[in-house]
């Protein structure tokens, strides 16, 4: 597909006030040029190899496959990328682009903190000033990542407006950028926002899918389905990208089903009550009420806890190329335990949604056929949430002792 599309069916676009228009036009130009420049692409590749640790492995999950008794389950271990998630692919791509554009300062938004950590790390490496906007609610929930960002020298800026979470951090970053774009690049963390962001983030994340395709060909895998979790959609679109144009394999996106289908309890935009709207500069499917006011969302995984979805995924979902399913909090936790005990892998809670969906899909096929799950991140970052959910008493004892004796 073209590097720059702007629209995907009816979705996408650049629905921004004039003050953001100039910076986006400039970015579009720079992005298109960079993607045709062999030097830039070579630099990105080298950065990926030496710093991010690419290619990440594609693991045959033998015990998991036998336990299900269906398809051969493969796991793309994207969580082994430096800083623990796929987010770094995009952070690296955009930061290198920003540097090329002569920008000296980077701003980013973060929810769980994964994108913030990736951005802060890359900025430390490239010598760029970095400020990360983060909802004050998220700061409370994600202290370890705040600590890491600060270690990397980034300033973590608390956002007190609205619901004090990810979408408010996006708003705040856009506001900063409206006034600062002369020397600042806004490094958005998922495949959403006004164009050219959805295109740009897909291009920088598609390295995941290209590596999978290479391995598939090398190992002659008969891939029937690929499964990824979908927050904004960056790991999913990057994982799926080389496979979208063909009719197969099945591509499956897992959204956060939260605690149930009631409004405010989930972030199911494609499988729930999502409607076509315009928010944060792009047209897509969002969770909002009858008046257009954006609804609160919930997920045990902060990275999937967002009311919108990238425009390309919304379009591919609507035309049926991508199937969407939703996975509840408890199912994600169960999948986390399943893969930990059988494969020695700790999924990030976001990715565990893909894990749970992947197990169901695998049961529909037989050995010799393959289902590939994208483990977009590893779960170290979630220990304060998962330990509390799975070993409440022991974990609280530990925390108590730490504060009393520390």
């Amino acid at each position: 597909m073209a590097v720059y599309n702007d629209f995907f069916g009816p979705y996408g676009g650049r629905y921004v006030a004039e003050l953001l228009r100039g910076p986006l036009d400039e970015l579009e130009e720079a992005f298109k040029k960079a993607m045709e420049d062999e030097t830039f692409l070579a630099e990105l590749k080298r950065f990926g190899k030496e710093y991010i640790g690419r290619p990440t492995p594609l693991l045959y999950a033998e015990k998991a496959s036998k336990a299900i008794g269906g398809a051969d389950i493969y796991i793309k271990l994207e969580g082994l990328a430096n800083t623990g998630a796929h987010k770094i692919n995009n952070a690296a791509g955009q930061a290198l682009l920003a540097k090329r554009m002569g920008k000296t300062r980077i701003i980013a938004e973060t929810g769980a903190g994964q994108h913030g950590v990736a951005t802060a790390a890359v900025c430390a490496r490239l010598g760029l000033k970095c400020r990360v906007y983060m909802g004050s609610e998220d700061i409370k929930r994600q202290r370890p990542n705040v600590f890491l960002m600060e270690m990397f020298g980034a300033e973590v800026f608390p956002v007190e407006s609205g619901s004090k979470t990810l979408k408010d951090a996006v708003n705040e970053a856009l506001r900063d950028w409206a006034a600062s774009s002369a020397d600042t690049h806004y490094l958005i963390g998922s495949a959403l926002g006004p164009s050219p962001y959805p295109d740009m983030v897909r291009e920088f994340q598609s390295v995941i899918g290209r590596e999978v395709k290479e391995e598939q060909e090398k190992r002659k895998l008969q891939v029937k389905a690929m499964v990824a979790c979908v927050g904004g959609g960056s790991n999913a679109i990057g994982f799926f990208e080389p496979f979208i144009a063909a009719d197969s394999p099945r591509l499956i996106g897992a959204e956060a089903g939260g605690t149930g289908p009631e409004a405010g309890c989930h972030a199911a935009r494609m499988t729930g009550e999502g409607k076509t709207g315009v928010l944060q500069g792009y047209k897509s499917r969002f969770l909002f009420d009858g008046d257009g006011q954006v609804l609160h969302t919930h997920s045990i995984s902060a990275g999937l806890d967002y009311p919108g979805i990238g425009p390309q995924l919304a379009h591919l979902g609507e035309i049926g190329r991508i199937e969407f399913t939703s996975v509840r909090d408890d199912e994600a936790l169960e999948a986390l335990r399943f893969f930990a005990s059988r494969e020695g892998i700790i999924f990030a809670l976001e990715s565990a949604h893909a894990g749970a969906a992947g197990l169901k899909i695998a049961a529909q096929y037989k050995p010799g056929e393959a289902v590939i799950i994208n483990m977009s991140g590893r779960g170290d970052k979630d220990i304060f949430i998962t330990a509390k959910a799975l070993q409440r008493d022991k974990w609280f004892d530990f925390l108590r002792e730490e504060t009393e004796n520390g």
């Binding site: 676009g13 650049r14 629905y15 921004v16 006030a17 004039e18 003050l19 228009r21 100039g22 036009d25 007190e160 407006s161 609205g162 979408k167 408010d168 708003n171 856009l174 506001r175 409206a178 006034a179 409607k275 076509t276 709207g277 315009v278 928010l279 944060q280 500069g281 047209k283 969002f286 909002f288 009420d289 009858g290 008046d291 257009g292 006011q293 954006v294």
Partner: protein, 250 residues
């Protein structure tokens, strides 16, 4: 340009509640405002600063709905002669459908629509709907706007143009630069009535702008006053009227 200072005053419908925002609107008119800009609160108003976003959040928490907003607008346009413009964000139009929303705005007597995140080239049919319902859509521009884009906007011959006098969002005070003044003059020469805002809160700014544009837009400063009165649990009419008058003193 103008004989005397002309100002458009801004308020958030339903902030702190509908009754008090109605009093504020009428006090603005009593103080001499020539236009009202009524903002329908949205949960994610990205072109606004923290002050107006906070007012929007409060208004939504105190029960604002689009239906109530249109009732508010209708009663306001019935009660005053000054033109009332409706400002809001795209998703409030997307929810019922752009045409439906624009039709309701026209029926409520609004004199214009200001939707900053529906620019002319990504407008979801807004400009056409405005034409059909005979309600002008007011393009929002900024100094430094791309030349081609400005030409395209002027070619639409809009009766009104809304311009920021600086880059950035609503909120802090603005110093109006030479270059900006040249830009304002150019806009005014197009024949459109130019309304200039973002960071206008002092009489000197209004005086200066009045020589170059049709009117100045005063927003955050008034939201601040209304918020202060709400905090002290008293009617804001007196303060609002006095402030508007102070900007218009000869």
């Amino acid at each position: 340009m103008a004989e005397k200072n002309i100002i458009m005053t801004h308020l958030v419908a339903g902030y702190p509640d509908l009754e008090e925002s109605r009093r504020a609107a009428l006090a603005m008119v009593a103080g001499g405002a020539s236009y009202l800009e009524v903002q329908f609160p949205f949960s994610d108003p990205i072109a606004d600063g923290p002050l107006i976003q906070g007012a929007c959040t409060d208004a939504l928490n105190s029960g604002f709905s689009t239906d109530k907003g249109f009732d508010f607008l209708s009663s306001l346009t019935a009660e005053t002669d000054v033109p009332v413009f409706l400002m809001t964000y795209a998703n409030l139009l997307m929810a019922p459908g752009v045409e439906v929303f624009v039709g309701r705005a026209a029926k409520s007597g609004a004199s214009g629509l200001i939707i900053p995140d529906l620019p002319y080239d990504y407008d979801e049919g807004l400009y056409k709907a405005g034409e059909m319902a005979d309600i002008p859509v007011v393009p929002v521009v900024i100094p430094g706007i791309d030349e081609e884009r400005l030409k395209a906007i002027l070619a639409m011959k809009p009766p009104y143009i809304y311009t920021a006098v600086r880059k950035g969002i609503t909120g802090a005070r603005t110093t109006i630069e030479e270059e900006t003044v040249r830009f304002l003059d150019r806009l005014s020469r197009s024949g459109a009535k130019v309304l200039a805002g973002f960071g206008i809160r002092e009489k000197e700014q209004v005086d200066l702008l009045s020589r170059h544009v049709h009117g100045s837009v005063v927003g955050s400063a008034l939201v601040e006053i209304i918020g202060r009165c709400a905090g002290e649990n008293r009617d804001c009419s007196g303060d609002v009227k006095a402030f508007v008058e102070s900007l218009l003193k000869p």
